[in-house]
Amino acid sequence: MKNLSRNPDIVWRVEKRREAEIIKALDAGEDVSDKGSVILIVSGMMHQLNLVGGRIWTLCDGQRSLDDLVEALSGEFEVERGELTGDVEAFVDDLLKRGWLKYA
């Protein structure tokens, strides 16, 4: 299976303090889906990814396939495997369409 890599024109970083706060909130059972932890600048415009989106983005280093992403995330988030696979596929598909990710 082909590996996924990030568009090298996009600059990005993990907001470490924010990420720690979000993980703490997640552990406390709060909904963190609208809280950003990764910042990207795409064509001069700033975007944010939430915790799961940010983890997927970080893992797309050209060394991992879609299956590898699901495998890595299944160890981090307590989600049923089929649901996780569907969510990852949908997210990756969206970023591929935007040109933010590509197959290496």
């Binding site: 600059v11 907001e15 470490k16 809280k35 910042i39 700033m46 944010q48």
Partner: protein, 309 residues
Amino acid sequence: MTLDLLDTPLRVSWRLSPQCSSAVANLPTIAERLVEAGVFQVTLEGRPLAHPAVHEVLCIFAAGGLRVDLSCEGTAAELNSLGSGMPVRQIALDVASCLATDDFTVLSEQLETIRRKGFDPALLLVPRHDNVARIPRLFEFCRVHRVAKFKLPNVGIDVSVKNLSGAELVTPGDLLRLSRELPPDAASGLELEVHDLFLWELFCPDCQDSRSEYGGCQAGNSLGYIDAGGNLYPCASWPERLGSLLDHSVEALWALPARRRIREEIAETPEGCRGCRDLSICHGGCRGLARTFNRSHGSRDPLCGGPRR
């Protein structure tokens, strides 16, 4: 998704001129701190090309993957220092001195010198009361001389550069006069980078949607400013010093209660903007200038003529 408080700024402007009060030996420390902080982009203002440490600073930024823009006044010292292959994304030629002498021949020669060194220069003008009416002529100059980009940044209030009274700022009346004289296609074909919403809507009336992602004043969040002494501020238009980058990291200064309080202040709706139909677009505009110069009008952006109904 709303923009949360960032760990450190994403874009920083840094005043770097030969008369910098920071010792040359200190500048690499500041540059390294910006790299460590994960800043994406640095704009070097003033006359950075004439500064003896500029090459060392640029090397640090290049090694750290930072994107660097710099401004240039077009002096011989700056243009001689500009080397082909310098790790700079863009050079913006400040046209203020040409406007003062009204000598555009010099400006075209400066542009050609920068081009010969392998760069595609932009033009830059800090819009003020005494120069805003000249902007259409500068747009025309850009078209004739194949300049693709024009930058209209915010007015800095760094007292070490100039002590502003507020009378220097563009007024709503200036904008009204300009709007009457501005040809409909004045900015067509130009890539504009406009800080102020009220200038932007004048020059870009057909691109309202492109500002839909704007979430309000970014002073003290994604923006920061460093003065010539190495002090970090929320932005060039906000007069509150957070601390020295010679003594502290960017992360430490961005984690201060003072920075949090500034962001809380920015999050409040200015009194003078209440009931305005366009508040969701401008979010109060330039909050630093409003706070400093327009408290008598409910801390509304000084360029705004009043709440729109």
